[in-house]
């Protein structure tokens, strides 16, 4: 990401400062964490649903084949 | 006896959608208060505790009909009346399920409701505790109301009217207990009310269910 070259643009002096966020650390990271969880989570759930639907249809097709 | 509990639980869990609707209803009332009165903290603080209570009461009333209505329609009620298992146990089971699906969520959500009504934080615990004691009483009363009006055409409109006066004592003592931050006297009264209600109401409900089954 070229961060080595633009490292001096980062608004924090150290990791400690970054985590602390001027005292607002818990809030910022809670908000970001929640959103990332939600976004990633919904995609994963959709993917899982797709696999489940595939399986169901596959099973049904097999049953149809066997019974015909 | 345990089968009765299991059955009631099964019926209740089929309608978890109702739980969602009840909660939505509460959020709706939650929004109505500040918009109709004032969103300023100073005003909200004054009405906050009462508003939370009214919301809980309305939410419990709105879900009351479902404890008995479906059974009446499906004919399961007749079977209950005829079975060997005492009807008062059925009634108790219904009240328990109503509380688990409506009352308990209200208790668990009460801190958030307090937050949104700008209630001072020192009251929060006591409001939750008071709701924890009063919601079972309200559940029992809701089942009572539902059983009295089961099968009537205008029943669902009539039921809140019947039951609301009965709900006033728990309401009064519950809010006072919270306002007084746990003053033991009110706590004792509430506990007494709960004991009284849980003994008397199931018996009355069993009588009412017999009437309902014969409609």
């Amino acid at each position: 990401m070229g961060e080595g070259g633009v490292a001096h643009l980062v608004k924090f002096e150290s990791w400690g400062e970054f985590i602390a966020m001027g005292g607002h650390g818990p809030y910022v990271f809670a908000a970001y964490g929640l959103v990332i969880l939600g976004l990633v989570g919904m995609v994963l759930i959709a993917r899982a649903n797709m696999n489940a639907a595939r399986e169901t249809i596959r099973q049904r097709a097999l049953i149809d084949e066997v019974s015909s | 006896m345990r089968d009765v509990l299991m059955r009631e639980w099964w019926v209740a869990s089929r309608s978890l959608g109702r739980l969602g609707q009840t909660l939505l209803f509460m959020v709706l009332v939650l929004v109505l208060f500040p918009l109709a009165i004032s969103p300023e903290r100073a005003v909200l603080e004054q009405v906050g505790v009462g508003a939370v209570w009214i919301m809980s009461l309305l939410a419990m009333l709105s879900a009351a009909e479902h404890s008995i209505g479906p059974d009446l329609k499906s004919g399961a009620l007749d079977q209950m009346v005829l079975s060997e298992i005492p009807l008062w146990w059925q009634a108790l089971a219904k009240a328990l399920m109503h509380w688990l699906t409506v009352g308990l969520p209200i208790v668990l959500l009460s801190p958030i409701m307090c937050l949104m009504f700008a209630v001072e934080e020192r009251y929060w615990f006591w409001i939750t505790a008071a709701l924890f004691l009063t919601t079972p009483i309200l559940s029992l009363l809701c089942v009572l109301g539902a059983s009295l009006t089961a099968g009537l055409n205008a029943g669902s409109a009539l039921m809140p009217v019947l039951v609301a006066p009965l709900m006033l004592p728990p309401l009064i003592f519950g809010t006072q207990w919270a306002y007084q931050m746990g003053e033991p006297f009110y706590g004792y009264v509430l506990a007494a009310l709960l004991s009284l209600t849980s003994v008397v109401v199931p018996w009355v409900v069993s009588l009412a269910l017999r009437v309902a089954a014969s409609r």
Binding site: V6, M21, Y27 | P34
Partner: protein, 245 residues
């Protein structure tokens, strides 16, 4: 133009087309979001008054924007489903509603989290948060109502009507809430930084907004594909598409 609709209008061609687009949209969404969020978290300046908590803006504002526009999008699909009874329109409508609901919930939660360091409390009844809460209720209504109908355009009619009424109401609600709050709160709270945002702030915000939109479309396509194969599961093309002999 009609060929465009025709191509995307049949479940089968939708499935094929979306299958090809999906990796691109997904990749683009991830890339945009990742860089936007990183930019906002690390490189964007802190606010003069709010300090570093203003970084929450980069997740809250995109969520709020997407939440609102998704409702309009959803209502448009509902309208198409009602008028032309297109199967795919109902699929689009049904699958978008929960996405919108969840994004609205995220906007509410991040707004509350942002409120704590800014105003000292998690919840304040102001115009923005209140209308977001009302939007959430609107979504919840549509989602609940849709569950009662069959997975067909006919089954979705009641919910579609509700969505359309909701979208007509949206500007009315927003206007009344805004107007009422200017009466009650002469000093207006705003959750964003000052209206004239410097480039260093609105640029990452823009990237995050675009990224969130891309994510929304990605998720929407994913969910639509699942719904389509569920509804058309008896068709031959589904079996072929899923590589079942």
């Amino acid at each position: 133009m009609w060929r465009f609709f025709h191509q995307w209008g049949s479940p089968k061609s939708f499935f094929e087309l979306s299958g090809r687009c999906l990796p691109w949209i997904g990749g683009l969404a991830l890339l945009t979001l990742f860089s936007g969020l990183l930019w906002g978290l690390l490189y964007a300046p802190a606010d003069y008054q709010q300090g570093h908590s203003v970084r929450i803006m980069y997740v809250h504002v995109p969520a709020a924007i997407v939440a609102q526009s998704s409702y309009v999008l959803m209502a448009s699909c509902a309208l198409i489903s009602l008028i032309w009874k297109m199967k795919l329109a109902d699929v689009a409508f049904t699958t978008l509603a929960p996405i919108g609901g969840m994004v609205t919930a995220l906007a509410l939660l991040t707004g509350a989290i942002w409120g704590k360091p800014t105003w000292g409390t998690y919840w304040v009844w102001d115009a923005r948060l209140t209308s977001t809460l009302i939007l959430f209720l609107l979504y919840a209504g549509v989602i609940s109502l849709r569950q009662f109908g069959s997975p067909t355009p006919q089954g979705g009619r009641a919910a579609a009507l509700l969505a359309i009424i909701g979208v007509i109401n949206l500007p009315i609600i927003k206007y009344s809430v805004d107007w009422w709050f200017t009466l009650h709160q002469p000093a207006s709270f705003t959750l964003t930084a000052r209206p004239s945002m410097p480039f260093e702030m609105w640029a990452p915000l823009l990237v995050c907004v675009v990224g969130t939109y891309l994510w929304m479309i990605w998720l929407w396509l994913l969910r639509m594909r699942v719904e389509v194969i569920k509804r058309e599961s008896r068709s031959l093309w589904v079996k072929e598409a899923l590589l079942i002999s």
